[in-house]
Subunit: 238 residues, 2 copies
Amino acid sequence: MHSVAGGVALWRQIADAIRLDIVGGKLANGDRLPTEALLAQRFSANRHTVRRALAVLAEEGVVVAEQGRGTFVRSIRRLSYPIGKRTRFREGLKGQAASLTSVSISDRIENATARVAVALGLKPGAKVVRTEGMSVADGVPISRSTTWLSYRRFPDFASRINQMGSTTLVFGSYGITDYSRASTRISARHADVEEIQSLTLAPGAIVLVSEAVDVDPEGEAISYALSRFPAERMELVV
Amino acid sequence: MHSVAGGVALWRQIADAIRLDIVGGKLANGDRLPTEALLAQRFSANRHTVRRALAVLAEEGVVVAEQGRGTFVRSIRRLSYPIGKRTRFREGLKGQAASLTSVSISDRIENATARVAVALGLKPGAKVVRTEGMSVADGVPISRSTTWLSYRRFPDFASRINQMGSTTLVFGSYGITDYSRASTRISARHADVEEIQSLTLAPGAIVLVSEAVDVDPEGEAISYALSRFPAERMELVV
């Protein structure tokens, strides 16, 4: 067993120390890390322990090992997604990526769970349209969203979004020329199996989760969206 | 080796499925999980694999194993912290906890890093007051914050906060009767060693990180705070 300080295994302490060097600017994007031998010396650890720490950092996407060249700090540029009363996804990320694509994955009609019903002001079990979508910036997935809407009010929302591509245009086609964000709830958790696959994440990766309700000018809820953003690629700005 | 679907180990798939049962309400707070034997049957896994999945969930704080009684869904109630232009920490959490305590851990004078200088509108290297603090709700740590302020403007901020206890009162004592939030940046990452210890988290736990700048009525930055909230205990509401 490795030595443990305050219940924290040595390999994790090493990983944390290297992460701090990166966050604190001692190691910059693209820098080569010290060799395993030097790291082992610095932390009074054996090389197996150092290797485990580096493997964890590689899995988190913090460093990249290059065959025969060493381990390097990965260049990470997080996109900043502004959360405001009138933010539209595309506008919010403008200028941060050369290409920005939103894709519909699937849709279906289902009965509202208690949570969806409360968010949309419907009775539990009411028919709702559920759409699954993804956004990709410069070829990298940056969000995975599930959106629910009243079936009664927006019966063919899914087919219209597939035709028009933009939520703003679809709401416009239903006569809603303006809408705004009523509330956003932000939490974080480990990505689940589906998210690991669709967002191309490593097991153990973290997603920021936002739950948002949009309302029409009369204040009526028109959509409830649960969006998952890879924490290593996105941050939210209020 | 365990069987793997889409690159995801079976124990992780089992952990994710149980987590989904909890999130989806099939398993409620305090419920006893099915026995290891039943779980092994459900997932076509051996008991060693099931045990590994349960160990991961226990480490995340999602379930609790009770000697001789089985494994139970841990009662988790997340506190919701509202982020608004004029939110004060204590007010924001009012009614959600019986006791709410903020503690100063330490303070020092240092030179502003590039990041702190930009946030506070100072020259890099300018003298700043840095305070370390923690908040505890009903005996459980809910945040760990580091705050920087201009030393020139608030030379004895640290001693005043120790006397007065409240940031609002201290700013008031400097003649700032009102202040508001200029911006908040929200991200998430794994807790580091210090946070695991101070926030009493399990290794691998997630923290929500908020970076906030408060400004006086003239729009001048008065404080820059980096707060870490255990994701399992807190969510942020915009």
